[in-house]
């Protein structure tokens, strides 16, 4: 029986966290609505606010908190505005991918700057004693600081509503999120407002940070912790709708609170289930406008992602370079232990697994124009399926790979069936939701080993039944070209990766690949010609996810363990970054991106503590100067040289680069 007191508890708890969500999501939503920028660094701005508040409270005592409530949003707002002026305004009209890469780069840079200034240990500050006590009203006692959060959030929300409703700034912002072009045509210099809007969003996040900092610890990770719920709320409420962000935030807060109280088993997944439900029934969100918004997924995929496609190498050069690279890779284990330690082979195995994973994403991202933020689901699923097979079914590596591939394909078909109905940002969020649901389920289920994962798989047998070889037990070849253990696995993996590349290359040059590209360029026209667009997209999704599952299964075969971290959304994000960094729509570009990314993340990080800053700066540079990824570096250099010698030939420039230069 639910008592009134319990109900009151549920509502108050829900409102407390809901208000924090509102503060984070409102800024994100308005920035997206007006500027069409999906700002991944938004959570870091919140964390920055919390850190500044910590410094002020430490410096000025209780008064510092009140000061922080005003000063910190102003400061962070200014920083936000400067960032928009200096960097973000250079990627407008370049599609989401460029913005994702840029704001992810900013995220990494801010993260490391925080570490420089405040160190790694979490920080704590207490709110003034006026707020830091239990308040008893009508015999019902509750945390005073929670009352403060609810009140502060409410006051701020009403003020923002008034600002949007009654000022010229608000008018332009609201008009801008309805139809940017129209506002421009009416003679309003909306670009100038972008700076204001971005600064405004940053200030809101910082205010949220100050408030949240008094409630929990101030840590480097706090930005990461809020960004996903914030995205969920923005989508739930409707992109660009302030009203939606407020309603969505409070709704999520109260639903979470109620579920935690009454059915704690599903507390982690309920928000994602809610989001999937809303997306399938009402894709524009609870309060989303009805206008035909470019970014809301009703437009052509190519406009949404932008800057895709097109290899930079001619077919002949591609084969030559490809054969050369494979040749060099084949020789690596030969000099292992002579020119370098065994570790190089282990490292390259990791690189190759990630290369396969990134390449698989390119099928949906680069060729079809769908950004999946749930690709880690298949990576993890493949790994779990392979390891469970080894543990419980058969020690055969082929059986493990086969089952992993089948499970991934089947899951991809089901997820694809639902997810393909929506596109654009909604596809990003729905794939994320599916991945997070499985990720959290893996934590709860005993068969998957809970949060520590599964360990102790037997050494895989490459064969069936009793006939086959175990890599650690055989020696293949004659000295000095004899290989065993990791080297044999390396060759096996190399063969799989090269085989997968050739398979995909074949598919992409077949009619199916042309259809995919035509869907990317114009979904509408492809449909008019008579293609079943959804079916084609679903097939691409299944192929892509199956290969992702294969890469996960190879991870499990090599390492002999799996853990829920494999399904962390960060891995999906990393894969997107690898694809864009290397050059999407080329298959080899993502592999190059994966190599650079993995080497920096895994190797440079053990020598350079500020590797995130370096990686972030690399992303920013690539976005600004190499719009089609690292693979275009040689061409870009050639162009620059041609221009310098004054013998510039205009015809060689392709469209995307012209745009970037402008």
């Amino acid at each position: 029986m639910v008592s009134a007191v319990q109900l009151l508890d549920v509502v108050l708890n829900g409102l407390t966290i809901g208000m924090v969500y509102v503060l984070v999501a409102a800024g994100l939503s308005v920035v997206f609505g007006v500027m069409g920028v999906l700002n991944l660094a938004h959570g870091e701005l919140l964390a920055l606010g919390a850190y500044f508040a910590f410094s002020l409270v430490t410096g000025f005592g209780a008064g510092g908190f009140w000061l922080a409530l005003i000063a910190v949003p102003v400061l962070v707002g200014l920083l936000g505005a400067l960032t928009e002026r200096g960097l973000i305004n250079r990627v407008y009209g370049r599609g989401q991918l460029a913005q994702i890469l840029l704001t992810f780069g900013l995220l990494l840079i801010i993260f490391d700057l925080k570490r420089f200034v405040w160190g790694k240990s979490p920080k704590f500050f207490s709110p003034p004693s006026l707020l830091d006590q239990t308040v008893t009203l009508f015999g019902f006692s509750y945390s005073g600081y929670s009352y403060f959060i609810i009140a502060a959030g409410a006051v701020l929300s009403v003020s923002i509503w008034a600002l949007l409703r009654y000022t010229r700034f608000g008018l332009v912002v609201r008009a801008g999120s309805e139809d940017r072009e129209m506002v421009r045509n009416l003679g309003v210099d909306i670009d100038r407002y972008y700076t204001l809007v971005f600064g405004f969003g940053a200030a809101l996040a910082a205010f949220g940070g100050v408030v949240l900092g008094g409630y929990q610890n101030v840590s480097l990770e706090m930005g990461n912790a809020v960004i996903i719920p914030a995205f969920v709320i923005v989508v739930l409420g409707g992109l660009g709708s302030f009203r939606g962000a407020v309603a969505g935030g409070l709704l999520v807060g109260i639903v979470q609170s109620a579920v935690t109280t009454f059915v704690p088993q599903v507390q982690g997944v309920v928000v994602f289930l809610l989001m999937i439900g809303v997306l399938l029934v009402r894709p524009e969100g609870l309060f989303g406008g009805t206008s035909e918004r470019v970014d809301a997924g009703r437009s052509e995929p190519s406009e949404f992602v932008g800057g895709l496609g097109g290899g930079v190498l001619s077919d002949r050069w591609r084969s030559r370079v490809g054969i050369g690279v494979v040749g060099v890779l084949t020789l690596v284990p030969v000099f292992d232990g002579i020119l370098y330690s065994d570790f190089v082979v282990s490292l390259l195995i990791t690189v190759l697994i990630w290369a396969l994973f990134a390449m698989s994403l390119d099928v949906v991202l680069g060729y079809t124009g769908l950004i999946s933020l749930g690709h880690a689901l298949f990576y993890g699923l493949g790994a779990y399926a392979a390891l469970l097979t080894l543990l419980h079914v058969s020690p055969s590596a082929f059986a493990a790979l086969g089952i992993a591939v089948a499970v991934s394909a089947l899951t991809a078909w089901i997820v694809g069936h639902l997810a393909i109905r929506v596109s654009g940002v909604y596809f990003v969020m729905i794939t994320l939701a599916f991945a997070e649901i499985v990720h959290r389920a893996v934590f709860k289920i005993d068969a998957t080993g809970g949060s520590s994962g599964l360990f102790g798989a037997p050494e895989p047998l490459y064969g069936f039944g009793t006939s086959g070889i175990r890599f650690s037990e055989v020696l293949v070849g004659v000295e000095p070209l004899a290989f065993t253990g990791d080297s044999l696995f390396y060759y096996f993996l190399l063969a799989v990766v090269v085989g997968s590349y050739l398979f995909l290359r074949r598919i992409m040059s077949a009619p199916f690949g042309s259809v995919l590209r035509s869907v990317r360029e114009s979904e509408l026209r492809s449909r008019f010609i008579g293609y079943e667009v959804r079916s084609v997209k679903r097939q691409a999704f299944v192929i892509s996810s199956t290969l992702a599952g294969l890469s996960g299964a190879l991870f499990a075969l090599y390492n002999g363990f799996v853990s829920p971290d494999l399904m962390n959304w960060i891995n999906s994000g990393n894969a997107i970054i690898m694809v864009v960094l290397g050059g999407s729509g080329t298959l080899y570009g993502p592999m190059l991106g994966a190599t650079v990314f993995t080497l920096i993340e895994r190797q440079l990080s053990s020598v350079i503590p500020w590797w995130r800053l370096l990686l972030g700066a690399l992303f920013v540079l690539v976005v600004l100067f190499l719009p089609t990824g690292l693979v275009s570096l040689p061409k870009r250099l050639r162009d620059v040289r041609t221009r310098e010698t004054g013998a510039r030939v205009g015809t060689s420039e392709d469209a995307s680069e012209v745009e970037a230069d402008d």
């Binding site: 508890d9 966290i17 979490p122 509750y142 409630y215 520590s452 971290d565 053990s606």
Partner: protein
């Protein structure tokens, strides 16, 4: 074990021929090391035992005929890979563990008790199992370490333990998850840290004797939290204590708002709240519980509230809470006083439990090598099991049945202190009392 040059001499027989292949390898290693930023040219010899070959990598033909003192003498230098998280969520704890490990290395290298020195390679696991595993591969395969120590997070520790299980590498762990010396134990893995079962023994005994019967369990739904809950229930049953578990709340890791859990506990009949939780989750929960007045309604007992980082963060919110206590700088056990002094000299302030674990995991490994008289991991691991070693906690050998260090556990109460609240120790459960009986661990080595 015999000389160090087994591999080199295989390919180049004849005294003067240490030459080409060996030099090439060292140079290549150097070039790679420069490229990847790892230093030195260290390699593993065939029979185990590692040696630093910088002198040979350098040009001078210095007579490094270390084959002179053959026989079973210990090598001059042993490479130990120290894997601690210095980034990611566990970074603050990892930092402390690393400080302890650095002191441990210095202790061994400066002491006359050891015939060898430790050559440490520090790597950051980033609190992520795949990265942790990669780093383990790196120190073993690239730096030639045959000893690995560290890790805090359960999944990282389990991944490293799994990696060493079929190699000639000894791993001394600093993680608390129960499986490491339970179902997932192996012959090469030892644990210096006090495990979850030992921690809960102290907690449950104190609740039964001093606090009350209606107990509520609150922790995070992760490996540590789950093993904590099951160990508490097991201990209550095994000892036949009159304790009722009236409810439990286990939110996800990284929960921001504990309001619903706090309301639930407050509205229940619980007299005692056990919080076997760690890190940011513990601190955020305690902070909000204090703010909501829950700490005035029930007695709170935890397993990590005694830790410096918790007391520092919680300040007055921690005062009055009880905590199962794994270490305190005021202990007069073992050579703790010496440890506290050297820590003070180096870092200002006093060491906490994670630094203690870092310090002792290196020293325990070193004592095994010294006792075995060789750095061959197979011999060392056999010597180490059951070997009486003195640590900062007293004599705390690794048990033979599961390789768990038999650490005692204290119970303390947080009281007002000068800069931060202090811990007053109330009672002690001996190592033998706290540790699980061998037959219930599920480990067979």
């Amino acid at each position: 074990m015999d000389g160090h040059d087994t591999e080199g001499s295989e390919t180049s027989p004849g005294g003067g021929g240490v030459g080409r292949r060996r030099a090439l390898r060292c140079l290549g290693g150097g070039a790679l090391a420069a490229a990847l930023g790892t230093a030195g040219c260290i390699q593993q010899t065939g029979e185990g035992g590692t040696t630093e070959t910088e002198s040979e990598g350098g040009s001078t033909a210095e007579p490094t005929t270390d084959g002179d003192d053959t026989g079973t003498s210990t090598p001059e230098s042993v490479t130990v890979g120290v894997l601690v998280p210095t980034s990611g969520p566990s970074a603050p704890l990892g930092e402390a563990q690393r400080q302890g490990a650095e002191l441990g290395v210095r202790y061994v290298n400066e002491s006359d008790e050891f015939d060898f020195t430790i050559d440490p390679v520090y790597e950051d696991t980033q609190t992520d199992p795949s990265t942790g595993l990669q780093r383990a591969q790196q120190v073993v395969e690239n730096d030639g370490a045959t000893y690995v120590a560290g890790a805090l997070e359960s999944s990282v520790a389990l991944a490293v333990a799994d990696y060493v299980s079929d190699r000639d590498v000894v791993y001394t762990s600093g993680a608390a998850t129960i499986e490491l010396t339970g179902e997932n134990c192996n012959a090469n893995t030892f644990r210096t840290e006090t495990n979850a079962a030992q921690q809960m023994a102290g907690l449950v005994d104190f609740v039964a004797e001093e606090l009350g019967t209606n107990l509520w369990l609150h922790t995070t739904d992760d490996a540590y939290g789950n093993s904590a809950v099951s160990q508490i229930e097991r201990r209550i049953e095994a000892r036949g204590f009159d304790i009722d578990v009236v409810g439990r709340t286990m939110p996800d890791k990284g929960t921001t708002n504990y309001g619903p859990q706090i309301s639930g506990i407050s509205n229940s009949e619980a007299e005692v709240l056990a919080v076997p939780d760690t890190g940011a989750d513990l601190i955020n929960f305690m902070k909000q519980a204090d703010n909501a007045g829950l700490t005035d309604e029930v007695d709170v007992i935890g397993t990590a509230i005694f830790a410096q980082v918790s007391r520092q963060a919680l300040g007055s919110a921690a005062v009055g809470a009880y905590s199962s206590t794994l270490y305190n700088h005021k202990l007069e056990t073992g050579d703790n006083r010496q440890f506290v002094e050297s820590y003070r000299d180096e870092y200002e302030g006093v060491p906490g439990s994670f630094a203690r674990v870092g310090y002792d995991m290196i020293r325990m490994t070193a004592r095994g090598i010294q006792e075995a008289g060789t750095s061959d991991p197979t011999t060392v691991r056999e010597t180490l099991a059951g070997l009486d070693v003195t640590t900062a906690l007293g004599t705390t050998p690794f048990r033979e049945c599961d390789h768990q260090a038999v650490n005692p556990v204290w119970t303390g109460q947080v009281v007002e202190g000068d800069e931060m609240p202090a811990v007053e120790l109330l009672n002690k459960v001996s190592g033998a009392e706290a540790v699980r009986p061998c037959e219930t661990t599920g480990c067979s080595i």
